[in-house]
């Protein structure tokens, strides 16, 4: 296609579509001259999920067409990564999905280690899994908090951020930073755990397990407003979910048991015993239940890690200068939002030739485009709570 043809095709698509209401009976529509309303839910809005612009076509309160426009936080990460050395890309991956920093780093390091073929000491693997599972708890609880904040409840997010503060204390003790850790390095982990930390994590996790039921489940589940607003919203079927390419809690809440930790295992997950949490309903309430149960599973994994952690060093045999041979490396991890994959192409020099991040938020957002028509305008918020995108993820 020539460039002119391509631009003409682009412009043709962005023309305003005729305003007809497809959900109303045609006779009634012609009789009363009904039209739809084009509304823009702009990039700055009180929802917590980031800079997302939704162009909505509304028929009364029913959404007829929903078009997400992204790119308001595009930070050129893939391009900048081509100009940084391999270890220097890790702080950039931290800032991709900023609720799941450890998973991003882990995915990238797995991809580069696939290229290098280096062996990682077992203690480093256990520390990586421990950090990732703590990060998963620190991501799922605020996700539930945001879902409820957008429905109007303020307490769960305060409890969620209280837990997140305590987990961030642990991260600060181990890695030195509250949020952007730069901890998981190529070949292992930056530094060993301080000697008193495993004990403290153990105590915290015991307390957390007892606290989830009164603080989250009892508070939320029986609430009539929550049930009215989340049960039956966005009934996803399994075929639809797989067709849209969903992964993570949005997929598992329909009943498909796909978890990268079990099906494409990496690190020490084959030796750990955990369940893949699924639910059959496929609606927003099901995704909430999946996330709460995943917190329990993460607690189980953390306990097993702390028990089984061997002694040893924490960094493999990788020098300061990482110069992998030519080729491609793939890394795939299960983030709290879904499958996070990294594809690194190397040309034998100090900097990567191409880094591609497959972010779960980007792919899960197609749900908004496909599934939203037919729902009401206030249902946007619970569906965003089901998908739970993070704008650093979809915009890279």
């Amino acid at each position: 296609m020539l460039r002119e043809e391509r631009r003409a095709a682009e412009e043709a698509i962005t023309l305003i579509r005729p305003a007809t209401s497809r959900l109303v009976d045609p006779d009634i529509r012609d009789e009363f001259g009904l039209e739809t309303l084009d509304m823009n839910m702009g990039p700055q809005h009180p929802a917590m999920h980031g800079l997302l612009r939704l162009i909505l076509e509304l028929d009364g309160e029913t959404i007829v067409r929903c078009d997400p426009v992204m790119g308001y936080l595009h930070r050129c990460q893939e391009k900048i990564a081509e100009n940084r050395t391999y270890p220097a890309v890790i702080p950039l991956t931290d800032r991709l999905d900023y609720f799941a920093n450890m998973h991003n780093e882990h995915g990238y390091c797995l991809a580069v280690e696939d290229l290098l073929g280096v062996e990682i000491p077992p203690r480093a693997e256990y520390i990586r899994v421990l950090m990732c599972e703590l990060m998963r708890i620190a991501s799922h609880l605020p996700s539930i908090g945001f879902l409820l904040l957008e429905l109007g409840a303020f307490t769960p997010i305060l409890y969620a951020f209280r837990e997140r503060e305590r987990i961030q204390n642990f991260f600060e003790a181990v890695t030195g930073a509250r949020m952007m850790f730069h901890y998981i390095r190529i070949g292992g982990v930056k530094a060993d755990l301080p000697p008193d930390i495993p004990e403290k994590i153990w105590e915290y996790v015991e307390g957390l397990e007892k606290r989830i039921k009164p603080d989250f489940i009892d508070l939320i589940e029986g609430n009539e407003i929550f049930i009215e607003r989340t049960r039956g919203i966005s009934r996803l079927t399994q075929e639809e979910a797989i067709e849209l390419g969903l992964t993570g809690p949005p997929l598992r809440c329909t009943g498909v048991a796909f978890d990268v930790r079990r099906d494409y295992p990496y690190s020490v997950y084959p030796e750990l015993d955990f369940e893949v949490v699924t639910d059959t309903a496929g609606d927003v309430e099901a995704s909430y239940r999946v996330r709460i149960k995943e917190v329990y599973e993460s607690i189980k994994i953390i306990r097993q890690c702390l028990e089984k952690m061997p002694e040893g060093e924490v960094m493999g045999d990788v020098g300061r200068r990482v110069r992998p041979p030519e080729g491609e490396g793939f890394g795939r991890v299960e983030g709290p939002r879904g499958e996070f994959a990294v594809h690194v192409v190397s040309d034998g020099s100090d900097t990567p030739y191409r880094v591609h991040y497959r972010d779960p938020s980007f792919v899960n957002m197609q749900l908004l485009q496909e599934k939203m028509p037919g729902h009401y305008l206030p249902d946007i918020m619970p569906i965003m709570g089901l998908v739970d995108p993070v704008s650093g993820g979809w915009d890279k």
């Binding site: 702009g42 990039p43 700055q44 809005h45 009180p46 917590m48 980031g50 800079l51 790119g71 308001y72 936080l73 595009h74 930070r75 050129c76 990460q77 391009k79 900048i80 100009n83 702080p91 950039l92 800032r95 900023y98 609720f99 997010i157 305060l158 951020f161 209280r162 997140r164 503060e165 509250r178 949020m179 952007m180 704008s391 650093g392």
Partner: protein, 248 residues
Amino acid sequence: MQKFDEPNIITTSTDKLFNWARKNSLWPLQFGLACCAIEMMSTGMAHNDLERFGAGFFAGSPRQADVMIVSGTVSTKMAERMTRLYEQMPEPKWVIAMGACAISGGPFLDGYSVLMGADRVIPVDVYVPGCPPRPEALIFGIMTLQKKIEREQQVGYEKPRPALVDEEGNIREYLPEREYRQISEGKAHRPKGIKRLPRTYVFQRKGLPPGSMTDVGWIPPEARERLKARRGAGASGSGEREEGKEGA
């Protein structure tokens, strides 16, 4: 302030009264862009409470906000919307640039769609460095803004205007997005008297920048002896290290 004998009469200047009212009820605009937004939310939550400074209500609409906390990377696509939001906020208004990305582009400085700092398009009052800044740092930034507000005067004070408002107060045309890319790369036209930022590459920099107030810090006594001996022994030692040691 002057107090009289009766307990409920105080006189003060209107400046102090208005400034006291304004600084103790700064309502931020909910403008979380990226990762710094999470730390801004953490600051608003129970552990580091922003409510006790009066800044707990994050207004959803710019018409009800006093402070715009630019937290996160400003991309060129968002810059136009950010300027529009800034101009929708009623006076008096202030801007806090939170995080390295809002101050100067941060780790994404060389991106093709990243604005090198929010202050290229809107006037910023307080800069809070960090990536992301800790909640305590953001609270310090808000307290600094409060001190700045205390110094304000109602008359005789010229407030800086955003880039798109000219001297008469007319709003110039919103720049199409391609112009923001020139701004973000430092190529845009700047008013007279303001120098264009020079771009230095990392491999061109040697030693500490000029006028920096940092020195190399404390050196253990054994190492210091050894360096002194080496410096005395051979004049062919590296000149830079000697320069650095002079400040020690």
